[in-house]
Symmetry: C2
Subunit: 362 residues, 2 copies
């Protein structure tokens, strides 16, 4: 086998350079003679590593001092309860946009803590999946917050607009699967959160970017380790953080900065997605039914018209070094997750394979 | 420098063999050509790894089928709220034993969810720190549960008895810093939990061993990712688990089994602790004021009689490759954490250094 390309939706591929460096220094980090995993998070060595990671993330995303950046545990799902608990005193209800599986799960969890008002729901229009635009629904001025998921990992839907509330209702975004994939204006958001295991690092770490004026609305019984104000006060070290994940995230941030930052990443991600979608669209063998404006650049879902060939497609792909292309069990078909760590060559290898497979079996 | 011995209280030293193996297969695990960090937790490769880790832990601790073993996030502190939330419907109050810093913090968090009755508190008797024995206090029959911390990492206190309730009140133990250090009878406990970063693996993982009959008492608003019943149903994969930590914990369990299991570990830990405490006790230069029955075999705290020498002691120790001996900021002095991964040679090097330092400065 020549090269292996890992299309896993998450935990997902990490940049080779990052893993190689981690491997090299796994037993002797920073000249200490021990692993970065084996030292106190409160010691000067790890603190410096943690602070650099935060500073690099702030640089990458142009995060201003109006925001805290937290490195927490619990993944994206941990924020499904943390957001309503931390913003409980802002209002008795929140609003959610439903664009796919993950935004649906977020609603189920939020309902334990607040009334949830669904502003709109993705639906089929002329056979293509669409998300209703912000001019078709309203953010209410007394909502505690508005929540949406700009990239639906399971469905392969990405939303490129950012909703705006003229009443200053904070916009909360679950960016688990498209954070760091392109430039965004953080100032449009009250809270951005993301599980690490797609574009940041290994699973077990979550990043929360929260505007400082939102730190005083938590329920009294918010668990301390998920209390934004508590963690902000303690530099995300109220409890022992996932130090190896934090360190590895720092290496990913360095790698991004060395490679031109998010603007360059965005160009590359555009090229990768364009190549893959055009391969699908120019074929009579593969299909994707998501409206072009809402197609994810991170998770490209597609179906074979002849679903009886799914198994063969997957096994042949694996033989060609194209790994983990099986779609999520909720939607079936195929899914190519092409996060930042996926090089253009990986997508080229996939499209070449797809065309070849079509020739043989189409 | 000859050898480096890492006395960090946590995140703590991991077995060298475990780290070496992790290093070797960091970029190509299980012949997949990708890292164990880069694959789906729901794929067959990771599932097999996860199941083997659980099976090995069950073997090591003789955990019966009456118990679920959960691999969660949030560390030990994550359980400070998870325990009262998951056992809320068992009663309106819980009982806690106060033996040091960690059991105190557990109380502060539990009070958000339940009334807390303190059964007893560690105190000085004739200048020695003691924990009141179970015959001096009572577990009430209508308590939701009884909670204690068998090893206080900060204070260096270890409790060797297990309280018993004649009314069947579940005993909950925070074993974060002494799990796997000796044989215990799991059947005496309702819940055992532990943050991984001492004797299990890297930080960011917590193990919860919970008796199955305790899975039906949770509050309605228990966060799904911390709901024992939900996680038990989903094999700890309701959300994406910290896969690298789980994998590494599995390697630690294998290492323990290969080295004679917990009985052998207990012998070794006894030898290490005995050597260190006898060095302290036979000296006029060092002191430890914990009653001999309650001295921790994992975290050996001691003070220099001449505290002005603390800094010099630490810097000379570091030059000798004896790392991270500084005591916790709450208690000062020194602390040698000698978890499973610390070989006898490390303690021998430390005691030799202590005797040498005493000769020079005593």
């Amino acid at each position: 086998m020549e090269s292996i390309y890992n299309f896993s939706a998450g935990p997902a591929a990490l940049p080779k350079q990052v893993l190689s460096r981690a491997q090299q220094e796994l037993l002797d980090w920073n000249g200490l003679g021990v692993s970065v995993m084996e030292i106190s998070h409160r010691g000067k060595d790890f603190l410096a590593c943690a602070e650099k990671a935060e500073a690099d993330l702030r640089k990458l995303m142009s995060i201003s001092d109006d925001y805290e950046v937290l490195f927490l545990q619990g993944g994206g799902r941990g924020q499904f309860f943390s957001v309503p608990m931390n913003l409980a005193k802002r209002g008795s209800f929140c609003q959610h946009l439903l664009s796919g599986q993950w935004s649906q799960i977020a609603v189920t969890e939020a309902k334990k803590y607040m009334d949830v008002d669904i502003v709109a729901k993705a639906s089929l229009e002329d056979g293509m999946l669409m998300v209703p635009q912000p001019d078709q629904w309203q953010i209410k001025k007394d909502a505690a917050y508005f929540h949406y998921c700009p990239n639906e990992t399971v469905d392969g839907i990405e939303i490129n607009w950012v909703p705006h509330s003229k009443h200053g209702v904070p916009i909360v975004a679950d960016m688990s699967s498209n954070i760091l994939s392109k430039t965004i204006d953080v100032n449009k958001f009250g809270i951005i959160y993301a599980g690490a295991q797609k574009n940041i690092g290994p699973s077990g770490l979550a990043i929360v970017i929260v505007r400082k004026d939102l730190l005083s609305y938590s329920r009294e019984d918010t668990p301390a380790v998920f209390d934004y104000a508590q963690q902000a006060k303690d530099g995300s070290m109220y409890n022992t953080p996932p130090t190896f994940g934090w360190y590895l995230a720092g290496l990913v941030f360095e790698w991004l900065l060395e490679n031109g930052g998010l603007a360059e990443m965005e160009k590359l991600n555009n090229s990768k997605a364009q190549l893959l979608y055009s391969t699908i669209d120019t074929s009579e063998f593969y299909q994707n039914n998501i409206s072009t404006d809402y197609r994810s650049k991170m998770n490209v879902t597609f179906h074979l018209n002849e679903t009886s060939l799914d198994k063969l497609f997957l096994s042949e792909a694996e033989k060609a070094g194209l790994m983990f292309l099986k779609g999520h069990r909720f939607v079936g078909g195929m899914r190519a997750s092409i996060y930042n760590a996926m090089p253009l060559e990986g997508v080229q290898a996939l499209t070449a394979f797809m065309q070849d497979f079509e020739k043989k079996h189409g």
